[in-house]
């Protein structure tokens, strides 16, 4: 998964995981499973992705499924990177 490292880094920062960010895997469940993963976290993650890619993300380009797992966030980054 191409952007898994970027996704892990962004999620680790947004969730203040510190060194525990290393325990995240593509299968780690986020929204709906991790209590601290709330709407504020979604906003932080999207903002960091915007900074990473130097782009502005349109609302219609994201959905709740994009935050279901760490792997889903990595896929979202790849999709936005490719402009799909």
């Amino acid at each position: 998964m191409k952007y898994l490292e970027t996704a892990t880094s962004i999620l680790g920062s947004a969730l203040s995981l510190g060194s525990r960010a290393g325990s995240l895997s593509a299968e780690t469940q986020l929204m709906g499973s991790l209590p601290e993963f709330d709407s504020m976290t979604v906003v932080s993650v999207l903002t960091m992705i915007e900074e990473e890619l130097g782009t502005t993300i349109a609302d219609e380009d994201v959905s709740a499924e994009d935050f279901a797992t760490v792997g889903a966030v990595a896929n979202l980054i790849e999709r936005l990177r490719l402009g799909k």
Binding site: S13, G32, M48, T56, F67
Partner: protein, 277 residues
């Protein structure tokens, strides 16, 4: 000796402003005005601001942190606050400091506070400064407002309603006030924020500028718009230093977090005697 902590209210044209002043036990420099970030980012930043103010006091700087009108413990409601009144607040704080013997000679402007400070400086509403330190400045108001409105849209991601930031922008443009994450944002305030744009250069009145960005890892590249602005300011003869600090975005984290390295390097930036222009 410990810094002397003073808190109270000062009179501004738009109402009484709450302030916290930390006086240096052995004053050796001028007063640093801290210009706060927007909405919830300020709550997440308060710990960092307190820590940097304490460190600065120990190195001879007095700091003053006002709650802008309609925010924090100042009078007024967020729903009626305007960007113009916040600019006036900064001018009033500077005047009040001057009258009380602590002339503002430097600012620490945080996030959107940087754009508001720039407007106040451009309008000549603040004195010429010796030093300006920026923490992750925000100048692109339209993008920032969209990110802020996203707080409300993101809440809808898990629910049934699916409103968009475009919908919210449209409602604000029609004159509505919209509640976002507990903050009532008026159409006037939204119009002010989204009219903020990346400046072509940095004014000479800011003095020597040190710009800190918080990055997630070493080797992060300065955003293109930021490097272009720094280069333009340098070409105009300004003294601008850009530095990055690896760490968490303390204004954005779930729990309150701090970044000691940013505090230490900020104190160094204020202590350095760089030519202002």
């Amino acid at each position: 000796m410990s810094p002397v902590l003073e808190a109270g209210y000062l009179r501004s044209a738009d109402g009484m402003l709450f302030y916290v002043k930390r006086r240096a036990p052995e004053p050796a420099h001028g007063c640093v005005l801290v210009i706060p970030p927007f909405a919830e980012e300020m709550n997440k930043s308060r710990r960092m601001i307190a820590l940097v103010a304490r460190s600065l006091a120990n190195r001879g700087f007095t700091t003053i942190l006002p709650d802008l009108v309609g925010t924090g413990d100042s009078l007024g409601d967020f729903a009626t606050a305007t960007g113009e009144s916040w600019e006036e607040n900064l001018a009033d704080v500077c005047d009040w400091c001057e009258a009380s013997g602590h002339r503002v000679s430097a600012i620490l402007a945080i996030r959107l506070g940087a754009a508001i400070a720039l407007r106040a400086v451009d309008k000549g509403r603040m004195p010429s400064l010796k030093t300006t330190v920026l923490w992750q400045p925000v100048f692109d108001g339209r993008r920032y407002l969209t990110q802020f409105l996203r707080l409300r849209v993101a809440a809808g991601l898990t629910g049934e309603s699916k409103e968009s930031t475009n919908d919210l922008h449209a409602r604000l443009a029609k004159g509505e006030t919209i509640e976002v994450a507990g903050y009532e944002v008026s159409s006037r305030l939204a119009a002010y924020v989204q009219a903020l744009t990346v400046p072509a250069t940095l004014p000479q009145r800011l003095g020597a500028v040190t710009w800190f960005d918080v990055v997630r890892q070493d080797g992060a590249v300065q955003p293109l718009w930021a490097s272009a602005l720094c280069e333009a300011a340098r070409a105009d003869g300004r003294c601008v230093h850009y530095e990055s600090v690896v760490g968490e975005q303390y204004w954005n984290t779930v729990a309150i977090s701090t970044l000691p390295e940013l505090i230490d390097r900020t104190v160094e930036a204020f202590l350095e005697d760089r030519p202002g222009a």
